[in-house]
């Protein structure tokens, strides 16, 4: 391995660790160092930022980390990404585009916001439509942004049914094949996702990242 290659790997690993350890200053410094050394921003995001967030997700799943920890890590990841992209060359930046929102009738969006942060940290282009988003709007925005994925969330049992409206509208407008649809939120389940004809369900933020990775891979294969 060349010295340069070695330095790159060390920096990427250090960036991941700084995110996991919630060390904002050192994450910022490392990201700047990566930019100075002119290493690929995309690989830095993929290995350093995404890799770090993957570990953070695992720590959350095992109960080690909790929501406040996720938010701190995600914020640092976001800062790192913006530094890495500041003077990024013209390389194709984003993996894919995800349109995300809380479904019509529901105004709870903390969970959805965390998922959006994780997807961003994983390098996806995320269009956050906010809360109480109508089926109509999900479809329109997905078309406008040439999105690959539509991600719909709800916290309330009473608004679960509204998620199906998004899928039904896609089918009705003959656009279902254009988008991968994923769902999430406290009252939902894998079974529910199947029942309403969604492509997948994830229980937590890192699960959503894995799910999108997997579904898009299948699609492109």
């Amino acid at each position: 391995m060349s010295r340069k290659e070695n330095q790159k790997n060390l920096l990427f690993t250090a960036l991941a660790q700084a995110i996991i350890d919630m060390e904002e200053e050192s994450a910022t410094a490392i990201a700047k160092e990566i930019v100075r050394a002119d290493f690929s921003s995309l690989s830095a995001i993929e290995i350093g930022v995404s890799g770090g967030m993957e570990q953070v997700g695992l720590l959350y799943e095992s109960g080690e980390y909790f929501i406040p920890d996720l938010l701190v890590c995600a914020e640092i990841a976001e800062t790192a990404v913006s530094i890495l992209l500041e003077n990024a060359p013209k390389e194709p930046l984003k993996k894919a585009c995800v349109v995300i929102g809380t479904v019509a009738g529901d105004t709870h969006d903390i969970g959805k916001n965390i998922v959006a942060l994780f997807l961003e940290a994983a390098g996806y282009q995320v269009i956050d439509l906010g809360k109480d988003v109508s089926a109509q709007r999900f479809v329109e925005e997905a078309v406008t942004h040439h999105a690959d994925v539509i991600a719909v969330s709800t916290l309330m049992t009473t608004t679960m049914g509204n998620i199906k409206d998004v899928i039904d509208l896609l089918v009705q407008e003959n656009k279902r094949h254009l988008f991968t649809v994923i769902v999430g939120g406290k009252p939902l389940s894998e079974e529910f996702a199947k029942e309403i004809g969604a492509d997948g369900y994830a229980e937590c933020a890192i699960g959503a990242v894995r799910l999108v990775n997997k579904l898009l891979q299948i699609k492109s294969a």
Binding site: F66, I67, D106, H108, I110, D132
Partner: protein
């Protein structure tokens, strides 16, 4: 059609192929609690099948393809021994009851404030009764009251039978708005209430035909369901109530006088109900010269902040963790539940169990005590994480499937996931408190009194609420537990008709805050998650 035999009740029922055991139980009229309404998430509808090796299966997830025999846990005993509190603080007021009687020429006229509502044979002037009904999401409390004297003659407690269909408010709204859900819920409630009316009448030696008025205190969703009104709009933004309250509805489904009516107190908003209006009345929040925060700690943490007559109200979805749901060893406050827990100066633990026997699980108050003490003694860190077992000052930390848990006995323990559930529940209530303080532009320090209402709250201690950070540290020494003010306020509505219009006018002036949609709530909530 396969036959489902319920072993311990000697009941059997034939159901269509592919029905779930839960559906079969409902057809057979057998009580099988399914708090999550068959979503397969709460794990409380455990049963055992004769044909299966497995220790248990979930009734809601098990379909019937052939004849089966089902073994149920006997919940009835548990429910009977449940601790529910009937009494609440009240205030002194003059009697001005809603019903009076007048005897003349062999007949007694029954007179409501709007006029004569009926006539009875003979002289019944000495028998005028009313009932204050507290319809909680989980529990029902009824108090029989002599309207001539104001005296409470009998009280009954029961589980709200609707919780068998859906435990939390949102699942119940969901259940009510499909098929004939609302009829099922209304009928089951009326059946339970009629049973309670019969028991109270027997205890007090009165004729239930002489009950002329009921006051229904309950959260907004419960009142919709009690009245057979579709609560769907409560569960969708912008969360609109179909009822405003301060009205009467028919009581003809209840075994009371044919002239009887049900009074619904004024409703504050979709998620702050008549139970809180009754609480405001009972605790006289509006009449105080100081600043008081009134909090009903429960599945829905409803709360009111009153500063010199200015009132703001909100509610938070704490979820069912406080009732022992979603907690690995959680259970209701019934026999075998650990209800108190403490750690002394020498780091020795002690605890008490309802009924005095061996601990079978942990109920809400035990859960808050346990978590509060573990936080105070540093076994759980400020971020909610268990510390390393070798660093713990208190014995009990161990591994369960490779993950840290705190063991009280081999079978009763608290997992890291359980602590996370408690953080979410207490964070919801704490962030509600903070949002109210912001709304009235004041600090926790400026609050003079903290009143914790509700029967669940009554079993809590100030220290564990503070240790958990469910209440801000500045509330120390200001906390009192006021009991079931939904019931005592309901009684006040029965006994003095002036309160109705007064409270209706007051409710108009209360600032209603919808948290999920208010600016900066996410920050408040995330901050409130830590200990």
């Amino acid at each position: 059609m396969p036959k489902v035999q319920f072993s311990n009740s000697a009941t059997s029922v034939f159901v269509p192929d592919g029905s779930t055991v839960l559906e079969a139980a409902r057809i057979a009229n057998i009580t099988l609690e399914a708090p999550c309404n068959g979503m397969g998430t709460c794990g409380k509808c455990r049963i055992k099948l004769e044909s299966e090796q497995a220790d248990y299966v979930l009734a809601c997830r098990t379909t019937v393809e052939e004849d089966v025999t089902v073994f149920l846990e006997n919940k009835e005993q548990e429910n009977r021994s449940m601790k529910i509190l009937g009494e609440g603080q009240s205030f002194s007021y003059t009697l001005k009851p809603c019903i009076v009687k007048n005897y003349d020429a062999g007949k007694t006229k029954v007179i409501h404030r709007t006029g004569i509502v009926g006539t009875e044979e003979g002289d019944t002037t000495k028998s005028i009764y009313g009932i204050s009904v507290d319809i909680g999401t989980t529990t029902l409390v009824t108090t029989l009251i002599d309207l001539r004297t104001g005296e409470s003659l009998a009280t009954e407690h029961a589980l709200n039978p609707q919780s068998e269909y859906a435990q939390d408010v949102l699942s119940r709204i969901h259940f009510a708005s499909k098929d004939n859900g609302i009829e099922i819920l209304q009928t089951s409630l009326n059946k339970a209430l009629n049973g309670m009316i019969e028991k109270m009448s027997k205890t007090a030696h009165i004729d239930s035909n002489h009950i002329y008025k009921l006051v229904y205190s309950g959260n907004t969703a419960m009142l919709h369901m009690a009245c057979g009104i579709d609560p769907k709009s409560l569960g969708q933004y912008p969360y609109v109530s179909q009822l405003v309250g301060n009205t009467h509805v028919s009581a003809n489904q209840l075994t009371v006088s044919p002239f009887a009516k049900i009074y619904l107190p004024p409703i504050i908003s979709a998620f702050v109900g008549a139970d809180i209006t009754s609480g405001i009345l009972a605790s006289q929040l509006f009449a105080r010269g100081d600043t008081t925060i009134f909090i009903d700690v429960g599945t829905n943490g409803e709360m009111v902040l009153a500063r010199k007559g200015t009132l703001a109200a909100t509610s938070t979805a704490a979820g069912p963790a406080f009732e022992g749901m979603n907690i690995t060893c959680g259970m209701r406050a019934a026999e075998g539940a650990l209800e108190r827990f403490s750690i002394d100066e020498d780091n020795q633990i002690s605890y008490s169990v309802i009924g005095g026997g061996k601990a079978r699980g942990i109920c809400g108050s035990g859960l808050l005590d346990l978590t509060g003490e573990l936080v105070r003694s540093g076994v759980i860190g400020k971020n909610g994480k268990f510390i390393l077992p070798e660093k713990s000052p208190v014995k009990g930390l161990g591994k369960l499937d490779g993950k840290t848990a705190f063991f009280i006995t081999d079978e009763v323990y608290l997992t890291q996931k359980d602590v996370r559930q408690i953080q979410l529940a207490k964070g919801a209530i704490r962030s509600g408190i903070e949002a109210l303080l912001i709304q009235l532009d004041m600090t926790a320090q400026e609050v003079d009194r903290v009143e914790i209402a509700g029967s669940f709250g009554y079993h809590l201690s100030e220290s564990s609420l503070l240790d958990l950070g469910l209440l801000p540290p500045d509330f120390k020494g200001k906390v009192s537990f006021v009991g079931n003010t939904s019931s005592s306020g309901g009684a006040a509505f029965l006994l003095n008709t002036d309160f109705r219009d007064e409270m209706a006018a007051l409710v108009q002036t209360i600032e209603k805050i919808e948290l999920s949609n208010s600016e900066g709530f996410e920050k408040l909530f995330v901050k409130a998650l830590g200990f």
